[in-house]
Amino acid sequence: MDFYLTTLVQGLCLSSIALGIYISMKIFNIPDITTDGSYTLGAVVTAILLTHHQPVYIILTAVIFGGGIAGAITGIIHTKLKINALLAGILVMTALYSVNLGLMGRSNIPLLNVSSLFTLINISADPNINTFWILVIFVVIITAIIGYLLKTDFGIAMRATGNSESMIRALGVNTDRMKITGLAIANALTALGGYLFCQVQGFTDISMGIGIVIIGLGSVIIAESIINWLRITSVWISLALVIMGAIIFQLVVAITLDIGVDPIYLKAVTAIFVLLIVSLPRISLKNSR
């Protein structure tokens, strides 16, 4: 039971990244690689401020701004310098590695004896269940905010930017600014993922972000497959499916480990799993024709 609770907890932490990737995919239709760096940045900022005993609201603000700035830089490089979005993301991610290492001063900060978000509120006596409920509340709040945002006039314009750039420019939207804002929001969400995860696992490590974009991507692709399959148009259901995608993804990873696959091959298994989800709809389509 504890095994699946841990999986659920991890899935909830990573659902914040999945929401971020969902937004950047909706705006660019390409994965934003900045994710690997901004996720670690969120965890690094959290670790430093937690060990300096800063209050929750300061840490949250710092994490959101940190991630937002990282995303905005990718956006500016992409739109103003006309550099491929994928490359722009890789550049910022690479630079963030040094930034993160510089901020920490070493490659690992333990967070075992500091008060975290999960010791702040006591819902249940069992620390694991307590963590679970706090995460549920946290993710519900983030989803509510993003869901509202996507339903506003601004949000509709944002969704249209990735869909038909010529149309949205003709309708008076500065697409450059929209992409920069969208990437900032996406990476702020990713950084929040790092904020949550480092407190759950009890440490921040410089290499914790490596390959995290694949997890976000996999979650969103799982969600997109279901969205397309069931022809879902509701923003709320779509967001709920993205979160579910993140949890399913973690479940697959957990089951992989449970059946005795050597953890060395975990990243390869996740990559193959993502490949499977991406290619399955195409393979089945080919057969039905």
């Binding site: 509709i156 038909s164 309708l171």
Partner: protein, 249 residues
């Protein structure tokens, strides 16, 4: 309304594939005029239209709209005056967004897109009412993604979207080129009705000489980046359809 003064545009300057797309065009288009532009491929029609819209900025010359110099103004800033219908139905609408969402964006074309939810029952009814005028039965499908509709339906909706917000100028770049003859006819008829009903200043680019003959009150022939012929309402009314075919003979 639109004042184009000695406008030039060259692509790939100094390279082997240099193109002088527009080569000194001066045009004055009055408010309420419906200008039809015809011309062979490469005659500079679309580049000229793009420069009015702002998606291409002129190399030299000036463009004024409503007395304001817009020569260096980006396309998204010109949306205060201009609505566009593109050749490709995909360019004028967002496929994954619902009809309603598309109309919401069009309804605030000249305004800021803020952090409030603008779609309410009043707005939905207004959209249904507008769409029902097309007689395509789309008024009951406003929650459907735009991508599920045919090209003709999408172009007709794009036209309706252009008058959802205050619109002075309507730019039509071969709006029927991708459509079957029947849809093309419906779209052209809708465009003509909207232009006269809202007294819009309009520019239509077309390769369909029958449309060029039937619609509009001014006809321009472009060739090699310049205005080759410019017929006002009186001259156009004297024109016979065969004369038009001879221009391209």
């Amino acid at each position: 309304m639109i004042d184009i003064k000695n406008v030039h545009k060259t692509f790939h300057t100094g390279k082997a594939n240099q193109v002088n797309a527009v080569n000194g065009v001066t045009l004055h288009i009055n408010s309420g005029e419906f200008v039809v532009i015809v011309g062979a491929n490469g005659s500079g029609k679309t580049t000229l239209l793009d420069m009015v819209a702002g998606s291409v900025l002129p190399g030299s010359g000036n463009i004024n709209i409503d007395g304001k110099d817009v020569t260096k103004l980006q396309d998204y800033k010109r949306s205060a005056w201009i609505a566009r219908v593109f050749q490709n139905p995909v360019s004028g609408t967002a496929s994954e967004l619902s009809i309603l969402d598309n109309f919401r964006l069009a309804a605030i074309r000249t305004q800021a897109k803020g952090l409030t939810i603008g779609i309410n029952e009043t707005f939905k009814n207004q959209v249904r009412e507008r769409i029902s005028t097309l007689g395509m039965g789309l008024e009951n499908k406003i929650g459907q993604p735009m991508g599920t509709l045919s090209g003709g339906q999408r172009q007709a909706l794009t036209l309706l979207m252009s008058v959802m917000d205050n619109c002075k100028i309507l730019l039509l770049d071969e709006p029927t080129a991708a459509l079957d003859p029947k849809s093309a006819q419906i779209v052209m008829k809708t465009a003509d009705d909207l232009i006269s009903h809202y007294r819009l200043t309009a520019i239509l680019i077309t390769h369909n000489l029958k449309d060029a003959f039937t619609y509009g009150n001014r006809l321009i022939l472009m060739g090699e980046g310049q205005v080759a012929k410019d017929l006002d309402t009186a001259q156009k009314s004297l024109l016979k359809q065969n004369d038009l075919f001879d221009w391209f003979g």
